[in-house]
């Protein structure tokens, strides 16, 4: 395991435990950072310890105690740390600090954008710069957002806990949204696939904790059905392979079965929400033996049941185009061009695909070039370049 992978895997646990012990978010983050720096310096020399996570947590904790001793307010705070340490021996609803951290980060008294940013920073260990890029805001803006959120948690007395049972239903949607975002962070970037695993791990815990919440199960099903295709999304050269061209025999069929079973059980509760609908769409794809077998009318109907955001409208246009022909799809995509999707690379990429299917290669080439200029990952860019070469030949 590389140090980067280890960082991704252990960061959240180290910070989550430290927050429980010190009650201080900034201090916990700083001490976790220092512990990882110490590891980076020592491990190449002394070897990686048997339990790197425990080593990191202990090191970070010692640094926190040192820091509190040096401070004038240390004595009172140290007593507090001791008290909290004692409290940690008490039974909790869920024996996982990361889950406690997640529910606190997702507290409804925080703005939605702050909840997501905070979870990605403290739980997933993304840097402020990375989060700023993900949300298209300047880094100082994101930095301020994170600081303000942490200060509010501390000063307004937002409790560091998994909410009691009667509060869980109103706290769930925010947690699910954050988990899905986390999953997508890892799904769209091979290097950070551990984020997806982390999202799945936490979603499994949630489903275990809330077996009566169909949307939690729906989200887990959605993640599993996507994750089943993970290894077939890139070819040997790291170029994107579209759903249509993926080798379906290499999909992880045990994950698909698990996802389908979860979804089926969730839908039986008769309270379908956006995650269950999206999982149903993913299940349509996963259960098609070949791309040609895909039930596009059903997928179109399912997209119609989701809130019609511009991205959902684009996906629905694709489904209609696949069901009724590329000319119909192209017309729908062109209708979206003037809207808020301008500058979104999948808009010209979808347009190019319909034009290619229609044999209008010259126009397709123009749209492929436009998509290439806007593409956000190397895998996508190289796929689009390959398509461009095809229609230009």
């Amino acid at each position: 395991m590389t140090f980067e992978q280890l960082y991704r895997q252990e960061w959240g646990q180290v910070v989550a435990t430290l927050i429980r012990v010190t009650g201080d978010w900034e201090l916990s983050e700083e001490c976790a950072q220092e512990a990882f720096a110490a590891a980076l310096e020592r491990w190449p020399r002394d070897g990686v310890p048997d339990r790197p996570g425990a080593w990191l947590t202990t090191t970070a904790r010692n640094k926190a105690v040192d820091w509190l001793r040096r401070e004038a307010v240390g004595a009172a705070k140290l007593k507090e740390v001791a008290a909290l340490d004692h409290a940690s021996g008490q039974p909790y609803d869920v024996p996982d600090d990361r889950l406690r951290l997640m529910f606190t980060c997702c507290h409804p008294a925080l703005a939605m954008e702050a909840r997501v940013a905070l979870t990605l920073r403290t739980l997933a260990g993304l840097s402020t710069a990375q989060i700023a890029r993900a949300f298209l805001v300047p880094e100082p803006t994101m930095s301020k957002r994170l600081t303000r959120a942490k200060q509010k948690i501390q000063h307004a007395g937002i409790p560091y806990r998994v909410p009691p049972a009667h509060l869980l239903p109103e706290r769930m949607p925010a947690v699910l949204a954050v988990l899905y975002l986390l999953f997508n962070e890892g799904y769209s970037d091979v290097v950070r696939s551990s984020l997806s695993s982390e999202a799945i791990r936490l979603a499994r815990l949630l489903v275990q904790l809330m077996p009566d919440e169909p949307e939690a199960a729906g989200l887990l099903a959605l993640m599993l059905l996507h994750d089943a295709r993970r290894d077939t999304r890139l070819d040997a050269d790291g170029v994107l392979v579209t759903l249509e061209d993926q080798d379906r025999t290499r999909w992880d069929h045990s994950l698909i079965t698990e996802g389908e079973n979860l979804l089926e059980a969730a839908l039986r509760r008769g309270a379908p929400g956006p995650y269950q609908v999206q999982a149903a769409i993913a299940a349509c794809h996963a259960s098609a033996r070949t791309a040609a077998d895909t039930d596009w009318p059903q997928i179109t109907a399912l997209y119609g049941r989701l809130k019609q955001t511009p991205v959902v409208a684009l996906n629905r246009a694709v489904a209609i185009g696949m069901a009724d022909g590329p000319a119909v799809g192209l017309r729908l995509v062109d209708d979206l061009a003037a809207g808020p999707l301008a500058g979104y690379h999948l808009l010209p990429a979808t347009r190019a695909d319909f034009l290619r299917r229609l044999g209008r290669f010259q126009e397709a080439a123009t749209s492929y070039r436009e998509a290439i200029a806007l593409a956000t990952t190397d895998a996508e860019r190289r796929y689009l370049e390959r398509r461009l070469a095809e229609v230009s030949a």
Binding site: V73, H107, A109, H155, A156, G157, I158, P159, P163, L167
Partner: protein, 112 residues
């Protein structure tokens, strides 16, 4: 944790001024979370005071002309924000007006 609950509402809230709190006060006194509070006379009876360059400036009316005005306040002391939210949500004002929950500033060391 100590919080100030500021009960806000627009002019229609005045209709509720003499309705009482429907058992809220009794429950919260029993729980021992209330540290003080009162209902207020309407903002039209307010006087705003500022001192600038040693000059006393008085204005008739509230400090900000907004649609929603503070009609009362309660100081509470409870475990955390979740409990403060629960206490505020039970207050009748939450049903027709708005309640702002503000944590109190910790006094500097040595003051209390």
């Amino acid at each position: 944790m100590k919080y100030l609950l500021m009960m806000c509402g627009d002019e229609t809230a005045e209709e509720h001024a003499n309705e009482g709190c429907g058992g809220w006060t009794e429950e919260m006194e029993r729980r021992g979370v209330v540290r003080g509070g009162a209902g207020l006379r309407p903002p039209s009876e307010a006087t705003t005071v500022r001192v600038r360059d040693d000059e006393l400036l008085l204005t008739d009316g509230p400090f900000a002309e907004t649609k929603e005005q503070i009609g009362g306040f309660v100081m509470i002391e409870c475990a955390d924000l979740d409990e403060a939210i629960e206490i505020a949500a039970k207050h009748p004002v939450a049903g027709y007006g708005t309640i702002e929950i503000r944590p109190l500033l910790d006094p500097p060391p040595g003051v209390v």
